[in-house]
C-alpha cells in the first residue's frame, strides 16, 4: 500500500526551521505538497539541498515539523529512506565499476534481495536508456550517461518519491531535453512522485504539475502549475497595419491592452474576449496577421525578489 494513497500529502512541513551556526537555511518553511511532479526552484543557497536532507532524515530540523509520505523523518527515517530515491547534484559514481553491478549493489543497499536487485537494475538502466551500455565501466561514460546512471540508482528500488537535485546539471541542450523528458515520463507514467530541484525555472516549468519557490530559506510561493498559468494567459494580436487604431478600439471595448513591439497583448478573461477582438478587428477592417493564446511564463509570477529571470540568466 502506497503511504500517500490514503489521502495524506506527499510532503508536509510546518514552520520548518534549520539553523546552522552562521546561517539560517530554512526559515519557518510551511508547505503542503501533493503527489505529482514538483519543481523546487530557488537560487543556489536558497535552501533546496537543506530541505532535501531534512526530507531524507539526514539532517534534523532545528524546530518545526515535517512529514514525508505520511512519516516523520525524526522517527521513521529508515522507512522513509527505503521508499525514497535520491539523486545528488554532484558526481557520486565509482568510475571503476560496471554500471549494471553498481546499480545492483545500490538496489541491495535499499533492501532488495539479490535476484530482484539484479533484475530491477537491468530494468532501471533500460528505462533511463542505458540498456545496451550497461556492462561498461562508468568511468568511460559521457556526462549525460552518468546522469542517467545516477537516475537509475535512485529509481532501482521502485521508490514512491524521487528527489532529484539539479538533474540537468552539466548536460548540453539535447541532453537536458532528454533528461527532462525522462523525468516527465517517470512522474506521469510510472506512478512515482518526483521532486525536481533546479535553479532554472524555465526548465522545470515545462514538466512540473506544481511548483515550490524558495528563497533565503523562506517559501516564496507554492501552487499547482495550472493555477499559476491559466489565470494569466494572454492573447497576442498582430495586424499588418493599424496597430494604434486597434489598440484604441480594444481599449474602448473595455479590454486592458498593452504593447509588446508589433504585438498587442490582451489578457484572456473569457471566451468572449476572442469575440470582442475579432469584432473590433472586423469593424476597423484591419488585416489580421496573427491571433494566438500565449502562456505567461511562470517566471513572470515571481517578479518579487529575487527575479527568477535574473537568477536564470545569472546561472546560465
Amino acid at each position: 500500500m502506497r503511504p500517500y494513497s490514503r489521502g495524506v500529502a506527499l510532503i508536509e512541513t510546518r514552520s520548518l526551521t534549520k539553523r546552522y551556526p552562521r546561517v539560517t537555511a530554512l526559515d519557518a518553511f510551511t508547505v503542503d505538497i501533493e503527489p505529482g511532479i514538483i519543481g523546487l526552484v530557488g537560487a543556489n543557497g536558497a535552501g533546496k539541498s537543506t530541505l532535501i536532507k531534512t526530507l531524507l532524515g539526514l539532517s534534523a530540523p532545528t524546530s518545526g515539523s515535517i512529514r514525508v509520505l505520511g512519516l516523520d523523518p525524526a522517527r521513521d527515517a529508515e522507512a522513509i529512506r527505503a521508499r525514497v530515491g535520491y539523486m545528488p547534484e554532484h558526481d557520486c559514481l565509482p568510475p571503476d565499476m560496471v554500471a549494471a553491478e553498481f546499480v545492483t549493489h545500490m538496489a541491495r543497499m535499499s533492501g532488495l534481495p539479490r535476484t530482484a536487485a539484479r533484475e530491477r537494475a537491468s530494468e532501471a538502466l533500460r528505462h533511463v536508456g542505458l540498456y545496451e551500455e550497461r556492462y561498461r565501466q562508468i568511468g568511460g561514460y559521457s556526462t549525460g550517461m552518468k546522469q542517467r546512471v545516477k537516475l537509475a540508482q535512485a529509481l532501482v528500488h521502485d521508490p514512491d518519491l524521487l528527489l532529484l537535485d539539479e538533474p540537468t546539471n552539466g548536460l548540453d541542450p539535447a541532453g537536458r531535453d532528454a533528461m527532462l523528458g525522462l523525468i516527465h515520463r517517470i512522474g506521469s507514467q510510472f506512478g512515482i512522485s518526483v521532486m525536481v530541484c533546479s535553479h532554472l525555472l524555465g526548465e522545470v516549468e515545462r514538466i512540473c504539475d506544481s511548483l515550490v519557490a524558495i528563497d533565503g530559506g523562506k517559501l516564496l510561493r507554492a501552487d499547482r502549475m495550472s493555477a499559476m498559468t491559466v489565470q494569466r494567459d494572454v492573447l497576442a494580436i498582430e495586424v499588418d497595419e493599424g496597430t494604434e487604431q486597434l489598440a484604441e478600439g480594444l481599449a474602448a471595448a473595455g479590454l486592458g491592452v498593452s504593447r509588446d513591439g508589433r504585438l498587442l497583448l490582451v489578457p484572456l478573461e473569457s471566451d468572449q474576449t476572442y469575440d470582442v477582438i475579432i469584432g473590433t478587428v472586423a469593424s476597423l477592417d484591419l488585416p489580421l496577421h496573427r491571433l494566438e493564446q500565449r502562456r505567461h511564463r511562470v517566471s513572470e509570477l515571481f517578479s518579487a525578489r529575487p527575479d527568477p529571470q535574473e537568477v536564470e540568466t545569472r546561472a546560465s
Binding site: R81, L93, P94, R108, A116, G129, Q189
Partner: protein, 297 residues
C-alpha cells in the same frame, strides 16, 4: 527524446486474443529487507572488493600477489617439515614471519575499501538508504578484518593439512596439531582486529588512495624504530615501549598469551599489553564512527 528510450505505454491486447508482452514500468511488490540485510550485503561486497573480486583485472593483481606469497611461504614450510620431520615454522611464527607483506596488504586494501568511496563521493547514495552511517563504517571494518584474517588463516589451514599427514603419532598427534592450529588462527584474529581497526581509521581520513596507503604504512614503519630505540633503554620503559608500535604490540601480546619468545621482552607487563590493545581497538573504532558521523552526506 532520443531513440534509445523505449516507449513504455502498455501495449494493447492484440486481436488474435494473445497479449503483447508489456515492457512498461513494473512496480516492485517483492520483499524489502532492512538495515541488517543491507549491512551484510555491504560486508560481502567489501570483502570481495578486498580481493579484487567483481572488479577489473588490475585491481586483482596486488591482493592475489600477496595471497600467492603467503601460500608459497606456507607450502615451503609444509615441504621442509615433510622432508626433515622438523617444525621449522609454527602456526604462531607464520603470522610474525609474513609481517611485511601483511602490512602492504593493509596499506593497499584499506584505502581500496574506504578511500575510494570518499573519492567518488558515493557516500550520499548509501546514507540516503536504510543503512546508517555506523552500519557502513562497521561493515567496512568487518570486511577488512575478515580479509586480513582469511589471508592469515587459509595458509595455516594448508599447514595443518600438511602437518597432520607428516606426523607419525596417530590421532593424539593430530589433535595436538589441531590445537596448535587453533592457537595460530586465534592469534591471527587478534592481529587482524588490531591492524584493521587502525588501518581502516587511517584510510578513512583521506579520499586519495595513495595518501591513505602512505599514511597507513608510515604509522607502522615510523613507530617501529622509535619502539626499538626505547627498548634499548631497558628497564620498565624498555619493556612497555613496544606497545606504541602495533606490530610489537601484537607480538608482545603473543608472548604473554602463548608463552612464546618473540624477541620482545615484556617482563611481567603482559596484562598491560592486553589493556593497551583493547583500549586502542575501542578508541580506533570510536574514532572511525565519529569520522563517519562527520563526513558530508
Amino acid at each position: 527524446m532520443p531513440a534509445d528510450i523505449v516507449p513504455t505505454q502498455p501495449a494493447p491486447a492484440d486481436r488474435s486474443g494473445g497479449v503483447i508482452h508489456d515492457i512498461g514500468y513494473q512496480r516492485y511488490s517483492g520483499s524489502r529487507l532492512g538495515r541488517g540485510y543491507a549491512s551484510r550485503a555491504l560486508y560481502v561486497h567489501s570483502l570481495r572488493t578486498a580481493f579484487g573480486l567483481g572488479r577489473s583485472a588490475k585491481a586483482k593483481i596486488f591482493p592475489w600477489l600477496v595471497v600467492g606469497l603467503v601460500f608459497v611461504v606456507a607450502m615451503v614450510a609444509v615441504a621442509v617439515r615433510a622432508e626433515s620431520n622438523q617444525v621449522v615454522l609454527s602456526y604462531l611464527q607464520f603470522t610474525d614471519t609474513i609481517g611485511l607483506p601483511l602490512l602492504l596488504f593493509l596499506a593497499v586494501v584499506a584505502p581500496e575499501l574506504v578511500s575510494r568511496d570518499l573519492r567518488s563521493r558515493v557516500l550520499p547514495l548509501y546514507f540516503s538508504r536504510p543503512l546508517r552511517r555506523d552500519d557502513y563504517a562497521l561493515a567496512k571494518l568487518a570486511a577488512m578484518t575478515s580479509a586480513f584474517w582469511l589471508l592469515l588463516a587459509a595458509p595455516q589451514l594448508l599447514m595443518l593439512i600438511g602437518g597432520v599427514f607428516s606426523r607419525k603419532d596417530g590421532f593424539g598427534g593430530a589433535m595436538d596439531e589441531v590445537m596448535d592450529f587453533l592457537g595460530g588462527i586465534g592469534y591471527a584474529a587478534i592481529v587482524a582486529i588490531v591492524f584493521s581497526s587502525l588501518g581502516i581509521l587511517l584510510a578513512s581520513l583521506s579520499g586519495r588512495r595513495a595518501v591513505s596507503a602512505a599514511v597507513v604504512a608510515a604509522v607502522y614503519l615510523v613507530t617501529t624504530p622509535v619502539a626499538a630505540v626505547l627498548q634499548t633503554l631497558g628497564g620498565t620503559v624498555g619493556k612497555i615501549a613496544p606497545v606504541i608500535n602495533p606490530i610489537d604490540l601484537v607480538e608482545g601480546l603473543e608472548a604473554w598469551l602463548y608463552h612464546r619468545s618473540t624477541g620482545i621482552d615484556i617482563g611481567n607487563h603482559g596484562y598491560l599489553y592486553l589493556i593497551v590493545a583493547v583500549v586502542l581497538v575501542a578508541v580506533y573504532v570510536t574514532l572511525l564512527l565519529v569520522r563517519y558521523r562527520k563526513v558530508a552526506a
